[in-house]
Amino acid sequence: MTMTGDKDRRTDLCSRFTEKATAVSAVVRQIATINDAFAYCANLCGTGQEKIIAAPGLESSHYDLLADQCGKNGLTCINSGMRGHLSGVDIGFTMADIGIAETGTLVINCPGEELRLATMLCEYHICVLPCSKIVRDAFAADQQLRTYMRKAPNYTAFITGASRTADIERVLALGVHGPLELHILLLED
């Protein structure tokens, strides 16, 4: 495939992913660098309030940058001790391993409990998805998913939009157990 073809394909996957994720109430934004993601996260909280941001899955250089940004805004950033916050944290900040364009789905490989809990116990879930990791459909991620599952124990999550229910009168309500909002930051890489 030519370079242009490859680029078109990627743009196509990105826009399809965006369309599908937006349709299930996710907020999708394009960002140019990972620093934009940290700024987005800090801004979403506003400043000077007692808010907690949990980012247990981040590699340490990234975590330091995020913590730094949060500190400037007067926010608390943690990367462990989720069991101390079972009633909830304000923001869970994570990196996706795969994006599935067909359904606007994030795949997060999270055998570590801290990361898992960060995606479950937050009010807002912010997830960075590098555009290069978007595939057409789940079948295209089959090999990668098998690799995760073969390395037991494993916990792999497909996340599509916010937590939802329609159990009362079939009326859609968001945030019944998990996050009230899902923000996806598409990182051009």
Binding site: L117, T160, S163, D167, E169
Partner: protein, 718 residues
């Protein structure tokens, strides 16, 4: 839940649902909305191919079930899971109680599992003094109300926000307004505390993948993620039918399941769990995890040549979503624990013939479930077969036996029909309807006027109608079916006149009889086969290209069921296939074979609408032919809402469940009247009987005809 002793008691229970205005409204809205959202979710996909993929993946499991279970157990245990096998519900519950005891678990949280409903797990746990909390919002609500689910995917669909508000007021001790968003937040708060305190989490599973020993959970709320993460013990209870060899198989099912269940492309969460994951609250930070794999009748089903296809069920609930009977009475009446068409079948296998005996008769055979099934299961056939099995072991009711005896003997049957013509004299009106119903009918059948038996049946008129066509362009055999032979012979005559204009060579073998569908509906399998053979023999000597019938139900039965009924005898099966291949319905023959067009008719521009018989649109897959013909005949065609939903006739169904039949008819006629049409056309004499009878009772002026009649009287140069 099914506790009714007999059909009479069951009908009384259903009347309660029919009188429940909220339920009726909720299910009506849902039925219509579901069709739209499902179509949207599948847009751009070849649904038939996706369904075939699911069916093939599940069918491939059947012969390898033992081997796959062993492999799953080996791989799951290698990853740190303890895998248990439970032969029935009691054993499964006992295993889970034992796990609770051995792990010192007292507080249990659950995510939604139909399998746990099947084993009545909560009752068993609570009997041991364990505290169990359902965390799926719908399940939480019905648990607090001490009810079972009324839908497999939306367990509390029968309840209003007001009922939930009152319930939550009781539970929290504070007034809760009937505001859905707020009620959801109340549940979030109440349940979060339960998650934190729980020792054990119980889930079901949608997939058990043998190649990795992983399970997959498909959910929307995110509660299953917390259930599988926070407590130190996790137990997943799953039917052995959830085994699939590979992740790819699971993904094939995942592609269809949410789209078919709720019209979602995918659920909010799909969770894949392999082995004993990290768990900070467990000793050694390692989850104590158990998979309890349940048989409970599934292995017997897997070996059954007919019922093994039930393994293809992915529990999407779509068969309830489209079922016209479910729409009227809801899941508590249209199910025991499992609901809808699949529920009628599973109840027999999982909960026994006593729970299934009334339920299984409540199928109108409209085939809407078969049409929508994610695994392509022939649900109506299986439901009938369960009925047959129950009757064969528990005894056949007298009316059903009598019908069998009469229909088996064509001469006796036709003699009875001819004498009915005389017997009806005292009550027959001059307008073709009974003036009042004979005493043998009960007052609940009075929602429609019933037709009288015709003065002269079609078989007696035929000798005067037949004509030799010198060079026929096509040769056909006419199959009249009983209703058009003895009640509406004029419909057959109309078709004969129309065909005669177009050089169709016609024969009408006099030894043909009832198609046998009523016997099938009554669960009389043996006589149904006898009658099929009789009809095949009646046409065997005829040199015809097609066997044309004006009755969609006859057509569908002749075409699809005859080869199955005679499949046990290879020679007869061959004859049945040849016969079935020739069978064609009136509209398809006229439209596709004769190719009649506007130039063949003189129109009058009157407004007409069409009721699509179940066995035409779903049974035979015919949608456009009759509508195209109506337009070609120069009528102004106006489509009615829900034109492909059942009219409520269903042959013997309307006799067994008159209240349900009347409600379905009411909806149908309301939609017809909204079109402003003067003429209502359809392609099935049974539907005509129902529609005409209902409109007559309403005092409506709408003319109900068979499409053949409307075309025949608008022939050019007639």
């Amino acid at each position: 839940m099914q506790n009714a002793k007999d059909l009479k008691e069951y009908r009384c229970e259903m009347q309660e649902s029919l009188d429940n205005t909220f339920l009726r409204q909720a299910l009506d809205t849902f039925a219509v909305a579901y069709r739209g959202s499902r179509a949207k979710a599948f847009a751009g996909f070849d649904i038939n191919r996706l369904v075939a993929d699911v069916a093939a993946a599940k069918d491939a499991v059947l012969p390898r079930l033992d081997e796959l279970f062993r492999e799953f157990k080996k791989n799951a245990e290698a990853a740190g899971v303890t895998v248990h096998f439970a032969k029935d519900a009691d054993e499964a519950n006992a295993i889970i109680i034992r796990i609770a005891q051995e792990t010192g678990s007292h507080k249990i949280i659950k995510s939604k599992s139909m399998t746990a409903e099947e084993t009545l797990l909560n009752h068993a746990l609570e009997d041991q003094g364990l505290e169990v909390t359902e965390t799926d919002l719908g399940e939480f609500i019905i648990q607090l109300r001490h009810e079972g689910p009324s839908h497999m995917v939306m367990p509390a669909i029968h309840l209003s926000r007001h009922q939930v508000g009152d319930l939550f007021t009781d539970v929290t001790g504070a007034r809760q307004e009937p505001d859905i968003d707020r009620l959801v937040k109340v549940a979030r708060r109440e349940l979060r505390a339960k998650f934190i305190d729980a020792d054990m989490g119980i889930t079901g599973a949608n997939f058990a993948i043998t190649e990795t020993g992983a399970i997959g959970l498909v959910t929307n709320e995110g509660n299953a993620r917390l259930v599988t993460t926070l407590p130190r013990v996790h137990v997943a209870l799953l039917g052995i039918d959830k085994l699939v060899p590979t992740l790819e198989d699971a993904l094939k099912i995942l592609k269809v399941l949410p789209r078919n269940a709720t019209g979602q492309n995918i659920t909010s969460y799909v969770t894949w769990i392999t082995g004993a994951n990290e768990c900070a609250s467990a000793p050694g930070r390692k989850k104590d995890i158990h998979f309890v794999v349940l048989d409970n009748g599934r292995l017997e089903m897997a070996k059954d040549p007919l019922f093994s296809q039930v393994f293809r069920c992915v529990r999407c609930g779509a068969c309830a979503n489209v079922c016209p009977v479910y729409r009227l009475v809801g899941g508590h009446k249209m199910g025991h624990i499992y609901i809808g068409a699949i529920g009628l079948i599973l109840t027999y296998f999982f909960h026994g013939p006593d729970k299934a005996k009334n339920l299984v008769q409540n199928c109108i055979n409209c085939e809407a479930c078969k049409d929508v099934c994610a695994g392509g299961i022939d649900l109506p056939r299986l439901i009938k077969q369960v009925h047959v099995r129950i009757q064969d072991t528990k005894g056949h009711p007298l009316p059903s036996l009598l019908l069998g005896q009469v229909l088996k003997n064509r001469k006796l049957f036709h003699t009875l029909l001819r004498s009915a013509k005389w017997a009806q004299k005292p009550v027959a009106g001059s307008d073709g309807f009974m003036r009042h119903l004979p005493m043998m009918f009960f007052k609940e059948h009075d929602f429609k006027a019933l037709p009288t038996i015709a003065e002269t049946p079609f078989r007696d008129r035929w000798p005067g109608l037949r004509m030799e066509v010198a060079k026929p362009r096509v040769k056909i055999g006419l199959f009249s079916g009983c209703v058009q032979d003895f009640v509406y012979p004029e419909q057959m005559e109309a078709a004969v006149r129309l065909f005669a204009d177009h050089q169709v060579g016609m024969t009408f073998p006099l030894s043909q009889s009832c198609c046998g569908l009523p016997l099938q509906m009554m669960g009389e399998a043996k006589t149904s086969r006898d009658v099929a053979l009789q009809n095949i023999r009646a046409f065997a000597q005829e040199d015809v290209d097609h066997i044309v019938t004006l009755c969609a139900s006859c057509a569908s039965h002749l075409k699809h069921n005859y080869p199955v009924l005679l499949a046990d005898d290879p020679k007869l099966a061959d004859q049945a296939r040849v016969f079935a291949a020739k069978v064609i319905d009136f509209s398809s023959f006229t439209h596709d074979i004769l190719g009649l067009q506007a130039k063949d008719f003189t129109g009058d521009g009157r407004r007409a609408t069409f009721h699509s018989p179940c066995h035409l649109c779903r049974g035979l897959g015919v949608h456009d032919a009759p509508r195209d013909l109506i337009r070609a005949a120069g009528l102004e065609y106006k489509e009615a809402a829900e034109s492909e939903v059942c009219c409520g006739f269903g042959g013997t169904f309307s006799a067994k469940f008159p209240e349900l039949s009347a409600e379905l008819l009411k909806k149908k006629l309301d939609n017809v009247e909204l079109t402003g049409a003067e003429i209502l056309l359809t392609d099935c004499p049974g539907c005509i009987m129902q529609l005409r009878g209902g409109l007559k009772k309403r005092g409506s002026q709408i003319l109900v005809q068979h499409t053949a009649e409307a075309l025949a009287c608008r022939r050019k140069d007639k």
